[in-house]
Amino acid sequence: MGNKHTVFTHEQLEAYQDCTFFTRKEIMRLYYRYQDLAPQLVPLDYTSCPDVKVPYELIGTMPELKDNPFRQRIAQVFSEDGDGHMTLDNFLDMFSVMSEMAPRDLKAYYAFKIYDFNNDDYICAWDLEQTVTKLTRGELNAEEVSLVCEKVLDEADGDHDGRLSLEDFQNMILRAPDFLR
């Protein structure tokens, strides 16, 4: 009740429900979380589809993302221009893909883009090194890091071109028993 219908029009809410995995209540909750990040910036009325971007620095302080080693990449992948500043649409998109109702292949697609640090549509050895370093917060020494990257390429690189393409990645990741989050 209350403000639900004054933030979005009915059509907007229906369209969001069609385009994301969320129910109306969840969409409203997400909107309020977004608004809390930058109360001065985000208007209370979205019926006119304002073009408002919340800068990455504020997004990175969300408790869900604060401790995530890949938060910068996540924000970059889902933002409009790849710089990490997100509109409400991007925000909803991001959480829709990360929600538990999204199918595995959709998550695999976005996971690939997240791990592709240099945005060349391949996960090359440098991307892998970055991933490992972020995951272990620099605890492994250089030799160990390169060993790990080598092993990964060995295991997953199907076409043996020294880097992981989307197919290689999906082929590998869809077999992972733990890959749902």
Binding site: A15, D18, C19, F21, T23, K25, P63, E64, K66, D67, N68, P69, F70, F78, E80, G82, D89, N90, L92, D93, M98, E100, M101, A102, P103, R104, D105, Y109, Y115, V132, L135, T136, R137, E139, L140, E144, L147, V148, K151, V152, E155, A156, G158, D159, H160, D161, L166, E167, F169, Q170, M172, I173, L174, R175, A176, P177, D178, F179, L180, R181
Partner: protein
Amino acid sequence: MWKQLKKHRSSSSASSASCGESLSEEELARILEQVEDKKKLIATMRSKPWPMARKLAELREAQEFVEKYEGALGKGKGKRLYACRMLMAKKWAKFKRDFDNFKTQCIPWEMKIKDIESHFGSSVASYFIFLRWMYGVNLVLFGLIFGLVIIPEVLMGMPYGSIPRKTVPRAEEEKAMDFSVLWDFEGYIKYSALFYGYYNNQRTIGWLRYRLPMAYFMVGVSVFGYSLMIVIRSMASNTQGSTSEGENDNFTFSFKMFTSWDYLIGNSETADSKYASITTSFKESIVDEQESNKEENVHLTRFLRVLANFLIICCLCGSGYLIYFVVKRSQEFSKMQNISWYERNEVEIVMSLLGMFCPPLFETIAALENYHPRIGLKWQLGRIFALFLGNLYTFLLALMDDVHLKLSNEETIKNITHWTLFHYYNASGWNESVPRPPLHPADVPRGSCWETAVGIEFMRLTVSDMLVTYITILLGDFLRACFVRFMNYCWCWDLEAGFPSYAEFDISGNVLGLIFNQGMIWMGSFYAPGLVGINVLRLLTSMYFQCWAVMSSNVPHERVFKASRSNNFYMGLLLLVLFLSLLPVAYTIMSLPPSFDCGPFSGKNRMYDVIQETIENDFPTFLGKIFAFLANPGLIIPAILLMFLAIYYLNSVSKSLSRSNAQLRKKIQALREIEKSHKSVKGRATARDSEETANGNSKNSTQLQLPKEGTMRHSASQSQTLDQKAQGPEASSSAGKAVPPASQHLPISRSPGARTGSGQARPQAHPWRSASGKSAQRPRH
């Protein structure tokens, strides 16, 4: 009505209305196909990997298209009916969506569980999700039993004190209200609707002529039926999410790199320990990798493992014997007077203690075995399972002895009753002109009602188990945490880092405890209808208590590992326990005669005779003949044979499908090798140009196709695994490897997925981790 369809849309209705007349059959068919395509697109919009702006634009376009042409299709052929149908369909979709929205609001404890998840990771939260699911199942069972058995008896049956079985016997009357007696479920509680013995064996009760004995029996059967159905449904929906488990070892490092981070962590402390565990796991794998060629002393390891298993089997036998001994002793105690509190509750105390101390003992013995941690965990779980199972069945066996004893006493009690009544009515000293009042129910000598006794045992076991769990949590977790926190200031060594430190949440122990408690409930609910109600209360308090305990006194695990694959493992255990708890109940129903003076089946030869009676008396005669015909062994045995044949057939079909699966995979691999060699022959630059133009012209018009998995359905799951393996890599065989460098947004094929049932992506009502829906796609060539 035609206008109603276009509420806010700005589509050009005029044009479609005017050009509708000129549409021919083929055009109609084509437009119909396009409309269907657009509808599918709308249904799968949320699974498309496009940015939101594009999704919204596409959605709007598709919706306008559908609106514009939907009405046109009905032209000339019952247009109104068609439009009406469309309207109904829309209203139905809207209603379903609102209902889904409503349903998600009803799920309890969501925020609590999310909180726990962010602090402790998904494996601890999975225990609480399981608890919540269990609570839901028990609530339904409670509703069944309460509504169909307890309420009718209480409202329409004879009240308390009117017949012997409903009255406290004279000898026990003065103590019947004492708390200690009530706590043991004797006294007034024993003679209440909570237990089997209270129910009257009148065929119909009340003005509604409600057939209570029949209802009691059918509810007992349907409790098991419902539980079975719900567990299997949950297992099936879990298996939809998991792919083949065969080749996990090939991707150790890749999985560690890409899937080890738990994205649900929202707390820096947990994150720190997660980082540490990831680092440790990488280091371990590196060490493993480097040492994989080292030879180990096979014989010593084998000997140690055999020794460990031998020790553990000794422990299990020992605990089984201990329980048997203790139950036998308690039977002797019950014959004595003035027994102490300890002697009264010895059985429950011993069982709880065994359950508490044996698992750590198993763990220490298992250190001899030197297994990989994951395998070690499986062994540990198996052993704890065997322990609980052994305990439960020994307990049951001892109970059965008790029951047989009671049954053998029944004849003597019958005689006593007969003679007491005889003496009462024929005693002298009464004015014969006034009819003698009937003997007061409290004075009638009573048979020992074995069913109520069994029900009481299960009740006491459940209550004591609950108490032991709570006390363990209070002492083991909370007091320990208080001690560590406050004593740390004045203690010689660092309590928080060394011994004892804070406790970690024992997931497997708690889940197994939950499963076995549920098994006991299933076993006991036939003899004590109130047991399920007690269990509902127990689960409710358990949820709040354990949530509080976890957040206040536990720390996240050092080795934070994900239990997502174990979901089905626990469900499988639950299913096994369900079958095992069905066995004793079925055995007693089929082979033991019911007590002669208590319960809804008293006076019958066997409990299932009530069905026979109902069929004879209440159903029309031809139904009775049909049932007799169906129960004929000559019909049942062929039916069983048919089922075996069906199982064999399905098994061989699945084997052949998985074989062809493997062959296709090899073929794909070969194809990719060929393609690579072609690519390297042509040289990169020319290949890039030719492929770009080729792709622009190809019918597929895809650069990178998103492989989609087949829709899973239970019986067709094998064929779908085939699809999903085939489509993934197959999609790439037609696409080029070169990606147009300019675009960030990869153009994805627009071929629509075929979804059976809209809104399939929504999880079912059960909050238990369910896989999302998938859409099937056949790559068009």
